[in-house]
């Protein structure tokens, strides 16, 4: 069975992806480790969002998508017939570009996942609620209004609520698709702080447009360009001493 103690969480081998006839990902090979933050950078349309959405197969919601290659998640190919996509997505949480809480109470938002997956015990739910909100650094701000509608929260709080919602099903990977692009600098700083604190328990892959953000929060950085993974390595190395000319051009702001 799946061994979640593996150091390597994702081992992507020869991944290709097409939208209809347009190839969006070309022969991607990458290993994503436990307890690390992997930043995925690159200009718009380079395939970085596509890539991250492939990791929990959310990409399949788009009609006409076709993939080849393997994505080994803890040793199991996520495209295998035996892999239930619903289960994969409880192991691999996702946070989106714009905060998308459900139009329900804070309480219902966090417990949505556990509830649809059959957790009924009241005390257990209460514990999940509290730990998830605490891990998302939101508990103190909302503990007195858990039954208020989530839309009363600020944008940054909503995004942290979405993180809490993802944590509530106890995933081991969190995918973040430009999670701070709709937030102001203060809310962004809070999310970045949060990502840093979550690292000890989760492996996090984050798509970002901000080079500074990638530099601040990530251990590894992957640079995508036109559907190809140009360079992947330690963030420090990528930013100080990129091997590929194209990486250097992008990082120094010569294009993109």
């Amino acid at each position: 069975m799946t061994n979640y103690e593996n150091k390597i969480v994702y081992d992507v081998k020869g991944l290709n992806l097409w939208y209809g006839n347009d190839q969006a990902l070309k022969d991607i090979n990458i290993k994503i480790n436990k307890n690390e933050v992997t930043a995925i950078i690159g200009p718009s349309g380079c395939g970085k969002s596509t890539f991250i959405k492939t990791l929990n197969r959310m990409i399949e919601n788009i009609p006409g998508v076709r993939t080849t290659g393997e994505i080994m998640y803890h040793g199991i190919n996520i495209f295998d017939k035996t892999m239930r996509v619903e289960e994969l997505r409880t192991r691999v949480g996702m946070v989106f570009q714009k905060p998308n809480p459900f139009p329900k109470s804070i309480y219902e938002n966090v417990l949505y996942g556990p509830k649809i997956h059959g957790v009924k015990d009241k005390q257990m739910l209460q514990e999940i609620l509290e730990t998830s909100l605490k891990s998302a650094a939101l508990w103190d701000e909302v503990k007195d209004r858990l039954h208020d509608n989530a839309y009363g929260l600020s944008g940054g709080q909503q995004q942290r609520l979405c993180i809490a919602r993802a944590l509530a099903v106890q995933p081991d990977v969190i995918l973040m698709d430009e999670p701070t692009s709709a937030l102001d600098p203060i809310a962004t700083a809070k999310i970045e702080e949060l990502i840093d604190s979550l690292k000890s328990d989760y492996s996090i892959s984050i798509v970002t447009h901000s080079m500074q953000q990638a530099g601040r929060i990530s251990d590894k950085t992957a640079f995508f360009l036109m559907g190809e993974l140009v360079e992947f390595g330690n963030t420090e190395m990528i930013f100080s001493n990129p091997r590929d000319k194209r990486t250097e051009d992008y990082i120094t702001g010569r294009f993109g």
């Binding site: 959310m58 997505r89 998308n100 979405c162 099903v169």
Partner: protein
């Protein structure tokens, strides 16, 4: 830089030529046009109230809200409860048919169907909405009732069940298409959020999309009810004109609308109590649907989930 075409001057000239009074007159014209429906509504309400007033001078409100209705007997009585009963029962049957079928159709069309199936089913639903109600009435009387008689031998030739069912079929498109609109307008980001937590498509539909669209869905129900309450032709044809107070839906019953149809087709002489009773019934019907519309508006405000 030199402009080859002098647009600026041409615009200046044209602005000078523009007739200012047109800009002032046209909005007034639009206002008058918009007032037509308002004035008509006021006119109808005033007529209903004044003529209903004549009626209530002769018949007390207690006799009006009683179960005995025999407007044409020598000693006429105008208890309206049999009519209210017929109206509510037929509308209830209609909703029992329309809500489950309409809502599940909406869920299917909005969340499950492929574009091709949707493009096939939607136009058919719209055709259903375009059939004249007299055709539905005829359909109820000459097709559905005989069919039901095979299942329920005691069914009368004129009964409430059959037109109720047919009214339900008639308002399916309304429920389905308004509910579908409400569900379609739920932003995709919410669906993605739910999928991201491992929801199946059914869970996304019932636990996220449906609750988020509930105000629009409820509003569609209420509008459909008020349509059923006001529906005339189907019940006039298929449910008969029995004025007995009964809850047995296999029997003939008259609805408020059916009563008005029967008496405007000749029996009530102008100025008689029977004639004025039409206005009293009409006023009550108006109040019924008016309340329904207010409820619909209240619901869509109250349950509005802003996303």
């Amino acid at each position: 830089m030199e402009n080859k075409i002098d647009v600026r001057n041409q615009i200046r000239n044209n602005i000078g030529k523009r007739k200012n009074n047109v800009d002032k007159i046209m909005p007034r014209f639009f206002l008058i046009m918009a007032s037509v429906s308002v004035i008509t509504t006021i006119g109808i309400v005033v007529t209903l109230i004044t003529d209903a007033y004549h009626f209530f001078k002769e018949v007390s409100i207690f006799d009006f809200f009683s179960t005995k209705l025999s407007p044409l007997s020598a000693n006429p009585s105008f208890g309206i409860l049999p009519l209210i009963n017929g109206t509510i029962l037929s509308s209830l049957i209609a909703m029992l048919v329309a809500i489950p079928i309409g809502l599940t159709s909406a869920m299917y069309l909005s969340e499950f169907s492929s574009k091709r199936t949707r493009n096939f089913i939607k136009p058919i639903l719209e055709v259903l909405a375009g059939i004249p109600t007299i055709v539905y009435g005829f359909f109820a009387y000459s097709f559905v009732t005989p069919l039901l008689m095979k299942l329920i031998p005691s069914l009368e030739a004129k009964n409430v069940l059959s037109p109720g069912i047919v009214m339900g079929i008639m308002i399916i498109p309304m429920v389905a298409s308004l509910s579908e609109d409400a569900m379609k307008s739920v932003p995709n980001a919410l669906r993605e959020g739910a999928y991201g937590l491992g929801s199946t498509k059914l869970e996304v539909t019932t636990k996220v999309v449906l609750p988020a669209a509930i105000s629009g869905i409820m509003a569609s129900f209420v509008l459909a009810i008020s349509r059923a309450i006001g529906e005339t032709m189907i019940v006039a044809i298929a449910s008969g004109s029995s004025k007995n107070f009964t809850f047995d839906i296999t029997h003939s019953m008259q609805t408020m609308t059916g009563y008005i149809v029967e008496f405007t087709s000749g029996d009530a002489g102008s100025g008689t109590t029977g004639y004025y009773s039409l206005y009293a019934v009409g006023l009550l019907l108006f109040i019924f649907t008016f309340i329904m519309n207010i409820i619909a508006q209240y619901i869509s405000k109250k349950f509005r989930e802003e996303y």
